[in-house]
Subunit: 715 residues, 2 copies
């Protein structure tokens, strides 16, 4: 690659947020920009922002290194036991790496530096931090560091002293854990689907037209249409009424040079905007995952085929209820539907604001929007009555919604912008699942694939490029912390990973952001129950074993058993964070519903778990979830971890593809049309499976040989 143009955007305090390249994005870590050598600067004002344009030679300019920084990974070797962890990203937290890789280091406070237990010795390597008030100068000088305070900056060798280890040897601990499953990088995610190119359903075309004269005085609109035909070979366009109103001005403002925005629709192309001059370079879309709990947005550069910025917010509808059922009920109250719509639209406007700000993109440069959500969210966003989604036989108003202008819904984008809502399959298999199937490439694979999305509800799909069956498992929100006494969503301060010393029953925890613990999120709950089970503190029925009573297991004031995960001194709430028998029971029912859903789905096509060649796990907690922990409680079967792939937000993944490619949009509609919905509510097979799954990991241990062995040793 030779010298090329690059646009660098500067914000408020001249912090550099990102670097644009015509072929890919560059992110500069920590907002500290390094200007490459030999840069020719040219500052120009653009509205409220300053853009810095420069030309650089990519090789040797220094930019290359910056670009690579995000992708640099290191190898960490833990001693004793010579446990080697590859592919650790630059800047990772050492305690987190250890815990997620199955290397036990004592940690009671969640990684806040408060307990001072996670002392390690850095034998070799580059890092930052590691100091704390909990670490004496003497210890520090002796080479000890707090793992929770260390940021990895290079390959390292780390020795864990005996006092920081669990009772068992590190090597043993590590050996008993299978791999974590594949967590994909952004690049991997983009490569899940093949055979598509950037060819959006909304495109801009530049026309240079001849001005009218007495001999050629056809009307402006027909002149435009003839231009589209002669210059771009586009025919039979229809035209949005709004385009015509100011067409005479638009066409003459830059001397008959115009940019026409076209949307490709089932019944042919439609002109949705005409603006003066060549504005074809500025073409963006916004894609949304409308979750019951959170809304994620990506700003896409349709011209470059790149993601420019991302943002998320809690769905403002939460104040009207945590789950879809409560919201449907609320929507039936007077004015309720309108309020719910306004709430989600407000959130969407907020995330749009964020991505535009991050990307340094003007609102008027956005020409398309795509939203994927579950069926209820799709109804509520578009103001469609969801009443019968919750009433048997569970009929949505529509699964394919007609296109609607985003502005009509109150979304703050330009008038011409259409919102494409992902088609749904049924009342409980929504556009988010369709989007996930597209975005993860399940619809293209020959392998029989199980796709599981665990969010506020749990949905499962089985199939491949030939066929797809789907179901919703009514798992409830346990995996988002719902129905769990100290449960919470996976945000800062949530306990996301837990290890329990089988000898002492002592918990070691990690919180998101290394903050004082606020509660437990989904992966933390799964870890806790899996560890309690493997440590023999709870039985397969989910009940605590009285014999294990002690520091960590106690009866509360009501006489109920509870396990203490974090003591009040280390929590942000000032109260002990515990897990109770009802919590474990809720988790059992949730995982039981999902597992039973999966087996019922397989049964509906005459298959069983043997047939599953790969598993894609979508959902917010995907990247923290450990496959073996999930299998330990019976959420997933014990399949080879290599078969598991965590795709993260599958819904956003598909929405992004659909916005980039009209072929993918067609694919999404084909997927929605071909996917068969399996209703579980009156399904006897499901009921039997569900009852059988109300046991850790399952009453039928056939799919859990590793757990069978572990549990056998306990007795």
């Amino acid at each position: 690659m030779e010298s090329q143009k690059c646009r660098m955007r500067l914000f408020g305090k001249n912090k550099i947020r990102n670097l644009y390249l015509s072929s890919r994005n560059l992110y500069i870590i920590n907002n500290r920009g390094r200007y490459p050598a030999g840069v020719k600067r040219k500052i120009r004002k653009h509205r409220k922002r300053t853009s810095l344009w420069f030309t650089y030679g990519l090789q040797g300019s220094g930019l290359e290194a910056i670009n690579m920084a995000e992708e640099i990974t290191y190898t960490i070797t833990f001693q004793p036991g010579e446990i080697v962890c590859d592919g650790v990203p630059h800047g990772s937290n050492l305690l987190r790496v250890a815990l997620l890789e199955g290397v036990h280091i004592n940690a009671s406070c969640g990684g806040t530096g408060a307990c001072g237990k996670c002392r390690v010795e850095i034998t070799e390597g580059e890092y930052e931090g590691g100091k704390s008030a909990k670490l004496s100068d003497e210890d520090y000088n002796a080479g000890l560091r707090l793992a929770c305070r260390i940021k990895i900056m290079g390959d390292m060798t780390v020795t864990i002293p005996e006092e920081s280890r669990m009772g068992d040897a590190v090597a043993l601990t590590h050996a008993r854990r299978p791999g974590p499953g594949r967590v994909l990088t952004a690049q991997d995610l983009e490569n899940l689907v093949s055979g598509w190119k950037v060819d959006p359903v909304v495109k801009k075309f530049v026309l240079k037209l001849d001005p009218p004269d007495a001999a050629n005085n056809i009307n402006d609109l027909d002149r435009l249409k003839l231009g589209l035909k002669s210059q771009h070979d586009i025919e039979n366009v229809s035209v949005d009424f709004h385009v015509v109103k100011d067409l005479p001005i638009m066409m003459r403002l830059e001397d008959w040079l115009v940019t026409v925005t076209l949307v490709e629709r089932q019944k042919g192309p439609k002109v949705i905007q005409v603006v003066p001059g060549d504005r074809s370079a500025e073409d963006y879309s916004i894609v949304l995952d409308i979750g019951t709990t959170s809304i994620y947005a990506q700003l896409l550069d349709l011209k470059e085929g790149q993601t420019v910025a991302e943002a998320s917010e809690y769905n403002g509808q939460i104040s009207y209820g945590e789950d879809v059922i409560t919201r449907i009920v609320h929507s039936q109250k007077s004015g309720g539907r309108k309020k719910l719509q306004e709430a989600v639209v407000e959130t969407i406007s907020a995330v749009i604001e964020k991505v535009l700000e991050k990307g340094g993109v003007d609102r008027c440069q956005v020409s398309h929007m795509v939203a994927a959500g579950n069926t209820t969210m799709t109804h509520l966003l578009t103001g469609v009555n969801p009443k019968h989604i919750r009433i048997a036989p569970y009929v949505p108003a529509a699964t394919f919604l007609p296109p609607v202008r985003a502005g009509h819904l109150g979304i703050d984008v330009c008038d011409h912008v259409h919102l494409y809502t992902f088609p749904c399959v049924s009342s409980y298999v929504g556009g988010d699942i369709v989007s996930g199937i597209v975005g993860s490439g399940v619809f293209q694979t020959e392998k029989v694939t199980l796709y599981i999305d665990i969010g506020t509800n749990g949905e499962a799909v089985v199939g491949n490029s030939e066929w797809l069956v789907a179901t919703s498992c009514s798992a409830g929100p346990a995996f988002e912390g719902g129905g769990i006494e100290h449960g919470m969503r996976a945000t800062r301060g949530a306990i996301e990973a837990v290890q329990i010393d089988p000898a002492t029953g002592e918990p070691h925890i990690l919180t998101i952001g290394g903050k004082k613990a606020l509660g437990i999120c989904g992966s933390g709950i799964i870890d806790t129950v899996a560890e309690l089970l493997e440590a023999g503190i709870i039985g397969q029925n989910g009940k605590f074993k009285e014999a294990k009573q002690g520091d960590w297991l106690r009866r509360n004031a009501d006489g109920l058993w509870e396990y203490v995960l974090v003591r009040a001194e280390y929590t942000a709430t000032g109260q002990d964070i515990v897990i109770t028998e009802p919590d474990i029971d809720n988790l059992m029912r949730a995982k039981g519903a999902i597992f039973a859903g999966i087996t019922t789905l397989l049964n509906s096509v005459g298959m069983d778990l043997d047939a599953v060649e790969q598993v894609y796990v979508a959902g917010g907690f995907g990247k923290y979830l450990q496959v073996d922990r999930a299998a330990a409680i019976g959420l997933f079967p014990e399949l080879d971890p290599e078969r598991f792939t965590f795709v993260g937000n599958g819904s956003l993944l598909g929405a992004r593809l659909v916005s980039f490619s009209k072929d993918m949009l067609q694919a999404a509609e084909d997927v929605a049309r071909t996917m068969t919905n399996i209703e579980l509510s009156d399904n006897q097979f499901f009921m039997d499976e569900y009852m059988a799954a109300l046991f850790f990991p399952h009453t039928n241990m056939k799919w859990f040989p590793r757990m069978e062995e572990i549990l056998a040793k306990l007795t």
Copy 2:
């Protein structure tokens, strides 16, 4: 016809406005309803109105006679001279009949009964009225009546006494006038176009759907679509977004019985409304003629293929200027376009209110709207920028406007109602002309037809089913009273017909509504100038002949010549109503532009007036205009009056057809596409023709042999 159902609508004070029949309308004159014998009454409340349903046997029920009343015509014989006038409608005014038929009866006051000059003796026949304070008891007892006060109720023989006649014998007077041209009845108008049936572009379909159950729980929208397919064989429908929002409620409210409104569009049918129950019987449309001066509306029953009610209002835009150019100028001022749109929309809402009230139809029963207007009116109604219509090379924003929802423009109809605006041809050949060509059947005829629409401007079309050329003549508003000192539009009090006694120069006038004269409308001006010319009071150059000075011809205070049409004592204004040389000059330029436009148009296709096989005259004043008077001033050539047909509001005629029939809508679009616009602004041939036409009737007398003879006698 045997016993059938009929709905009678009753208003406020139980006045009967009309009778519905399934096959045709019945109007009851004077709001006095006679209940037919043997009626079985069944009163039911419907909103604020009361509908009376009854069954009757049409034969012998009395209704038949009422029905026929409007169509009954009589024969009036005038004596001396045995002048027989056939086809005089029931209830006509005798003085009016005489004047329009060319039978001179003295009348100075315009038919108000004030001058008492129009005494006649009714020798035989049925009539009402004829008495006045101006008629002594003695004269009344002697059998004399005032013609202006007589309402014709049967065949009559009328003797005109010498004192009521003009100097010449009645016979002579009558003989010199050719026939008036064909003025069509409503029935004739409907028959102008053949080969169409009631098959509107917007239609309602009733569906009875199976309720969903566990085995068949597809979404509501797909259930609806499947119903359309299986019950009406309608496929590939698209659906308006708004339909979906409350679809679940609409479909369940009357137990899965719904009425679906579909609009047939170029790219297939589209569902625009779904309502519960069978509402297919209530299906109306509103068609509009959007004139620069007036707006006419008809309420159509799409189910029965009938016109239910009519109404009109002055276009509220008049306060922003009388002609299109002034309005375009105003539209370019800040907020001007919006104000003009609001003004016309307000007028439209008012006429809609009127027709709904008259027809006893609920607003929500209207499912379609069609509007025909000139290009500027169409732009302003839809809020499209008309700026370049008035700037060379005269380019409109669009001639085919995309469909728009009427509510979007602010028109007070239900949300789902689409407004179809007639396609235009060019900046000055608009949708009103296209509509007229469709409505008058010109597009179907093999005969070479000249179609002239004289409104605020003048447009001419020549052609037949094979080809059409059109032009706008820039005639100005003289024919609507514009630029004429006492000019006014053809409303109550306007002098609409004038005869001048060639011996004395005394004018005899008739005003609209028999009211005191307020001013002169188009036909009155044409009559006046024609009569002045034939009486030798003005010369062919339009100048008064000094020698004729006398009671009626005088110099005003400024020394300018003027002719007194009505003396102050008989006017509503209390001032003399006169016609001046500048008035005559304006008329000459207006008629000159139209005549030159016609000959230029013919020349553009290598033809001359000989080739014209028939002439259709559209425009508000059509029914008062006398072909021979128009030919006398050179507005039309002297062709056989039988070749002339007055179609009245051609624009409304076409709009009505297009609303009834989608084939006619297609025809309208074909007409707009195939019609060639001939631009006159830079046309040298037109300029030459125009100069030659600035003479009464014309410098080239070839087309005016009758006038040549009359004028020759004068010299």
